[in-house]
């Protein structure tokens, strides 16, 4: 059988199992196993236990639950409240200021946590009611939180980047560095958009009334809210970039620091502690079992040498590498409408990344483009995680339809960001290149 046919059969089997609601991890595992036995022969199953054991006891992936834990503790820490108070006092007097500030707080949270849920949920609970009560239009209020929340896995640390690195072998530290400028680029696009809208349509995000504004003394006092977040950012990202610790060690130091911060705010009860550990275990284990389940699947894909086969076709037909890249991005966008980033990484990277590399593109850069693309996946209806998180925290009277409408402009901004990074790869490659 030709490799293309085998892969098509594998994907067909996966689609059927996905439609039936089979957990992604085990659908990948079983399809992989069946094809290992039928195509490669049962003897090949022997490589599986080693791979599974290596993955389960591998040091790199320990960072995933630890980064998740930082996020789940941060919800409880009160850090976000302090930061929102800060932007309320400093930016409230400016039209659109609260929305701009919400994006900024999301950037800071994104630099502490590795998942999107943390910023979306906390800002949805804190910033959304505050903006709505100041007569901000709900589209802007919901949109800036959704867009800002999705930055969680573009700005390092990022669980999705760790998964991408573990599948492709790209250095985690470099992926982290590569995400910083694109993340700031997206945040700037959001902020510019908010400022322009609030000047063109005065009244959609009004400045807070004069008598409610803070004095300079209050403003400076609120700055103390920055101390703990930056301490956390330093203990996590600083230790990685200065070469003091591996990403895994940094995640451990960060988790310990996060426990300390929650303790300092006097919020560390046994209940908070144990429930955040349970949440972490559930989310982290889910991610890890997908990676384990995928081992069998990618064993088959790798043995077929499909990427080199496809590359030959691409080269013999004389397709422009850029056409191929754009086609990949479009396919990722559509997959993103119905799937979550993890299954998409698992089924596309074993095929796409070798092709990308042999066409002369940098897999690090592709990884960042991939993550930028997945940002949109988190916001595109009908299946987008951020949308579901938002629905969970919005006040009554805001419908799913309102949420869908509000994310539209931000999806367009994300697409613009993706195109900019495609045309100027240096935005993602410059910082990693400094690391050598």
């Amino acid at each position: 059988m030709s490799p293309v046919l085998i892969v098509l059969l594998m994907f067909l089997a996966l689609v059927v199992l996905f439609v039936l609601g089979t957990p992604v991890a085990f659908a990948l595992g079983t399809v992989g196993l069946i094809f290992i036995v039928t195509i490669l022969g049962p003897a090949k199953l022997q490589i599986l236990p080693h791979a599974v054991f290596a993955q389960m006891s591998g040091e790199v992936l320990i960072a995933i639950p630890l980064f998740i834990m930082i996020g789940s503790l941060l919800d409880k820490s009160g850090i976000a409240d302090d930061m929102f108070e800060l932007i309320y006092k400093w930016l409230g007097p400016m039209p659109g200021g609260l929305a701009v500030g919400t994006v900024l707080v999301c950037v800071v949270i994104a630099a502490i946590v590795g998942i999107v849920g943390a910023a979306t949920v906390t800002m949805g609970l804190i910033a959304l009611p505050a903006m709505l009560s100041r007569n901000y239009k709900k589209e802007i209020a919901i949109g800036c939180i959704s867009g800002g929340g999705a930055l969680g896995f573009l700005i390092p640390p990022s669980v999705t980047m760790i998964v991408y690195s573990s599948v492709t072998g790209v250095s985690i530290g470099k992926m982290f560095l590569g995400g910083i400028l694109p993340g700031l680029l997206l945040a700037s696009l959001y902020i510019i958009y908010i400022i322009i809208r609030s000047f063109v349509q005065p009244g959609i995000c009004p400045a807070i009334p004069k008598d409610e504004r803070a004095t300079w003394g209050e403003k400076f006092l609120a700055l103390k809210g920055l101390f703990l977040p930056f301490l956390l950012i330093f203990s996590i990202m600083g230790t990685i970039f200065m070469g003091l610790a591996t990403p895994t060690e940094a995640s451990a130091v960060g988790a310990l620091a996060a426990i300390g911060v929650v303790g300092l705010h006097g919020k560390l009860s046994w209940d908070v502690f144990s429930s955040s550990l349970y949440r972490t275990a559930r989310l982290g284990s889910m991610v890890l079992w997908i990676i384990i389940g995928c081992l069998a699947f990618s064993t088959v894909i790798n043995s077929l040498a499909l990427p080199s086969f496809l590359t030959q076709i691409i080269k013999s037909v004389g397709l422009n590498p850029w056409t191929v890249l754009v086609a990949m991005m479009v396919s990722l966008f559509f997959l993103g409408m119905v799937m979550d980033d993890l299954p998409i990484i698992m089924i596309t990277t074993p095929i796409y990344v070798p092709i990308i590399t042999s066409l002369g593109f940098d897999p690090l850069w592709y990884g960042i483009l991939f993550i930028l693309n997945m940002q949109m996946a988190y916001l595109t209806p009908p299946f987008g995680f951020v949308l579901f998180y938002m629905k969970g925290v919005v006040p009554e009277g805001i419908t799913m339809g309102d949420i869908y409408r509000s994310v539209g402009p931000f999806i367009i901004l994300q697409a613009i960001g993706l195109i900019i990074v495609m045309f100027f790869p240096q935005i993602s490659l410059w910082l990693p290149s400094l690391m050598g």
Binding site: L20, A25, P49, S57, P65, L277, T280, A281
Partner: protein, 169 residues
């Protein structure tokens, strides 16, 4: 019938209990890793055991939390079509999905178990300075598989029971 329900409850609470207890292992791993960072930078004496032991603890953590997730039906699935199925068809789909999972778990048990027995038989040690025996650690893979198998069987029983109760309501 009653026995079947009891089986479902017992397996469910066992996996829930094991999952919750092992959730705390992450704290142990965190402390190991922080200890390593402190020893390396402040006392200039990196350990030979932290990274490996953290890895082994992590394998334990995953082995016991995975089945708990299956019990909670929290292993992520692409439920965009599934959620639109009629209730009875959804139960049928559940049973098929569990059978698919079972295939994976049984193979995992088989190959993982063989690998573990082999490690015990030749008294396999890891090729590091610390060099701990690998047999006991490789035990986690078949143990995880057994817990998964039991949970999947419980899930199938549950779906079958609900299916039979269905029309009566």
């Amino acid at each position: 019938m009653q026995k079947l329900k009891k089986f479902i409850t017992i397996i469910g609470s066992m996996n829930r209990g094991l999952g919750k207890i092992s959730s705390f292992v992450l704290m142990l791993i965190m402390l190991f890793l922080c200890y390593e960072v402190v020893m390396r930078y402040f006392f200039n004496s990196p350990t030979i055991w932290v990274h490996e032991l953290s890895g082994f603890s992590f394998a334990f953590y995953l082995a016991l939390t995975g089945p708990w997730l299956l019990e909670r039906k929290e292993h992520v699935s692409v439920d965009i079509v599934y959620s639109r199925f009629p209730a009875r068809f959804r139960l049928t789909a559940d049973i098929i999905a569990y059978l698919v999972c079972l295939t994976f778990f049984v193979v995992l048990f088989w190959v993982g178990g063989k690998d573990m027995l082999h490690a015990f038989k030749i008294n396999q040690h890891s090729y590091t300075v610390w060099g701990p025996p690998l047999g006991p650690v490789k035990l986690f893979v078949p143990v995880a598989a057994v817990l998964f198998i039991l949970q999947a069987l419980a899930g199938i029983c549950d779906a079958v029971l609900k299916f039979r109760e269905g029309p009566a309501k």
